[in-house]
Amino acid sequence: MGSSSSSMDNIPNAEELMQETGFSAAHLLRLYERFEFLDKDQTGELRPEDFGAVGGLALNPIGDRIISAFFSPGRETVDFPSFVRVLAHFRPNDTNRTRNGTQQEPVNSRTRKLKFAFQLYDQDRDGKISRAELLQVLRAMLGIQVTEEQLQSIAERAIQEADLDRDDAISFDEFRKSLEKVNIDHKMSIRFLK
């Protein structure tokens, strides 16, 4: 990772990426370096094993879900633009950015962040968090501390609290509504990516 290889020229479509994700050049460079670091066999793309090599992520209860969030459905590898796009979700909100009307919703908007979190639950991408999916996540997070019945109860309660249209699943809108009082920008942002 010498300085010679880490220049903006190595990054394909750097300008576009910066525009799309809002990262500054310095950040993009740093992320590129990190990408190269993770990409052990220098193929230019990351595979699940490369992600798994990151220690903390392997121990994370929802590590596998996070990893799979990087992979677009159907693809087996992650290239740098996809990597950056996913990470762009975690930028803190720019409060003073001027948005012109034609611009798309920025990647790190509250809705997009929530959508990312929602997709961590909703692995089958049907737009709803079913009870089973919720249970899986709860089981992963709570692990051995609780019994199955407790998990069921907690999941039951969670669904009852959030499910407004009584379909026994949590849609994205219900999800968003239940989190309306939470400062998502604070919780789902990584400061140094600003």
Binding site: A117, M141, E161
Partner: protein
């Protein structure tokens, strides 16, 4: 420190530096001592499960000890005692019984009131009796000075300054001035601070209530987000405070809690919040039901057992569990409510929402009960639940389930859950099918099927009827009560807690076919706890389970 500085003839830069360094040592040392004593207290209370009465004593002793030891080493005793209290609160609260918590809280408030009264009293006396020398310029200057210092956050230093000057100069005339100045400052700051504190509190409260989001959903999602961020940070190779917080929590769970908390299992905040919310719901129901529940003697510790090992799981119906759960909640928490105000500082959740949740759950329960095998007869409105009339029995197809798990809520146990309230059992089953025998407890094994009429017995015997729902079941999600035996109505017995406990312990033997109804198998060893008067059972909660 200021004494020291003031007495030195020459102040050199080195001394200034030392002075500053000493300040830090004093402050941080105070915190360190406080934390140390907090840990010591937590460790001590880990072992006091058999001697609950002295727990408050330990708490006060350790706090005062922290203060004294800090004074001994000339470090900040106030910081020590404050840090000690903070550390203790977290760990000790899990260890001590509910009653101890209440006791401590009240004693502290009492001591605080007394101290305040005495201080003001003394202040007044001194103001009135000393000969004052008043010099406008000096006094005002000192006040201004103190004000500025306070603004800079250095009120303690300012206090020291005043105190110190009073000490150093013994010239009578000038000294009087200093005394006057000191008193003026004290009065000034007390009144000013006192008056200005209210708007500040309101401001902070407003912010705080926003932070306290009492839904399980929010908690789950926030936890998910924290994990996500921690993961992404790992991925990016840079860590922010999430990571360190995560690390600390892991460390805390793995090491500290094991050492300092009795029977600790790392309790997730999600589970804790869930329990708390369920408890609040239950209390709300009880509130509505209200009633003529006579105060039951409080139960000291119902649940000491914390079983985590999996017993052979038997199948149960979630709906029934919910049923049990609700019954239990309805029974249990009324008494607890009195103490809740003191112990739980959390705001109750949004009423309408919880009510709605409850209603929905009731509806779902009702729905599930209709075809259900779990037959619940309408509970007679009479108070006492005596044995079932002959021929009746509680039908159940549910093998007892493993009982509760989390123990930690000893609070639940504290709840005056009179075992009598084992309501759950109660719905008297109208069917006359034979019921599954009640869970037999060891102690009562030899007791033959006893006369059902518990009236004779103030024992836990009545409990037998199956449902021993443990109070603590509250903490555990739906506690699968052993529905074994609903032979008699007498659920109103204590036992439940014990039963549950014992049930857990015991192998769940199911003895089939006991002589019907009238033989309430003495299920439980009467825990001496409350063999007292039978409690009139709680009136049936709103929902009426449909009779088959």
């Amino acid at each position: 420190m200021f004494n020291f500085v003031a007495e030195m003839p020459v102040v050199e830069p080195v001394d200034v530096f030392l002075g500053v360094a000493r300040f830090f040592v004093v402050g941080l040392g105070g915190m360190g001592f406080g934390i140390l004593f907090g840990f010591a207290a937590a460790f001590t209370t880990r072992f006091t499960s058999k001697v609950r009465e002295i727990e408050p004593l330990f708490i006060f002793m350790y706090s005062y000890l922290a203060y004294l030891v800090a004074e001994l080493f000339a470090i900040s005793s106030i910081m020590a005692i404050v840090t000690c209290a903070l550390t203790m609160k977290y760990y000790v609260e899990e260890n001590v019984s509910q009653r101890s918590c209440t006791t401590i809280r009240h004693v502290v408030k009492m001591l605080g009131s007394i101290s305040e009264t005495l201080i003001f009293f003394f202040l007044g006396v001194v103001t009135v009796t000393t000969e004052h020398e008043w010099n406008w310029g000096y006094i005002l200057f000192t006040l201004l000075f103190a004000f500025v210092w306070r603004g800079l956050g250095k009120q303690r230093a300012g206090g020291y300054l005043c105190h110190d000057r009073g000490q150093v100069l013994f010239d009578r005339g000038v000294w009087q001035l200093f005394v006057t100045a000191t008193i003026a400052i004290i009065l000034f700051t007390v009144f000013l601070q006192g008056i200005s504190i209210r708007p500040l509190i309101e401001l902070i409260n407003v912010r705080r209530t926003n932070r306290n989001l009492d839904t399980i959903n929010v908690e789950i999602h926030c936890r998910l987000m924290e994990h996500t961020i921690a993961g992404i940070e790992d991925l990016c190779g840079q860590w922010s405070h999430f990571y360190w917080k995560d690390k600390f929590m892991k460390f805390n769970n793995r090491i500290l809690r094991r050492i300092l908390i009795r029977d600790s299992r790392a309790e997730s905040s999600i589970v804790a919040l869930y329990k708390k919310l369920e408890l609040q719901n239950a209390m709300e129901i009880l509130d509505q039901v209200s009633g003529d529940i006579s105060a039951a003697p409080s139960i000291v510790s119902l649940y000491e057992e914390k079983k985590t090992s999996a017993k052979p799981k038997k199948k149960f119906m979630a709906a029934d569990l919910r049923n049990m759960h609700d019954i239990l909640s309805k029974n249990m928490y009324k008494i607890r409510q009195r103490t809740v105000a003191y112990t739980r500082k959390n705001a109750l959740p949004n009423d309408s929402q919880t009510r709605e949740i409850l209603i929905r759950r009731h509806a779902s329960i009702r729905r599930s009960l209709r075809p259900g095998s779990f037959q619940t007869a309408a509970v007679p409105r009479s108070h006492k639940y005596f044995s079932l009339p002959a021929g009746k029995s509680l039908d159940t197809k549910f093998p007892p389930q493993r009982l509760s798990y989390t123990d930690d809520q000893e609070t639940m146990s504290e709840v005056a859950y009179p075992s009598r309230r084992s309501r759950f059992g109660q719905p008297v089953r109208s069917s006359s099918r034979a019921m599954m025998p009640l869970q037999r407890l060891d102690t009562l094994k030899e007791v033959p099927s006893v006369d059902v009429l518990n009236e004779g017995r103030n024992q836990s015997g009545r409990l037998g009827r199956g449902m021993s729902r443990t109070n603590s079941s509250y903490s555990d999600s739906r506690v699968p009560a052993p529905r074994r035996h609903f032979s008699s109505s007498a659920d109103d017995d204590n036992g439940s807690a014990d039963n549950l406990r014992n049930v857990h312990n015991e192998a769940e033997e199911q003895e089939e076919q006991q002589p019907p109804s009238s033989s309430p198998s003495p299920a439980w060893a009467a825990e001496p706890r409350d063999n007292a008067t039978r409690n009139p059972l709680l009136r049936r909660p709103q929902w009426n389970p449909k009779k088959k």
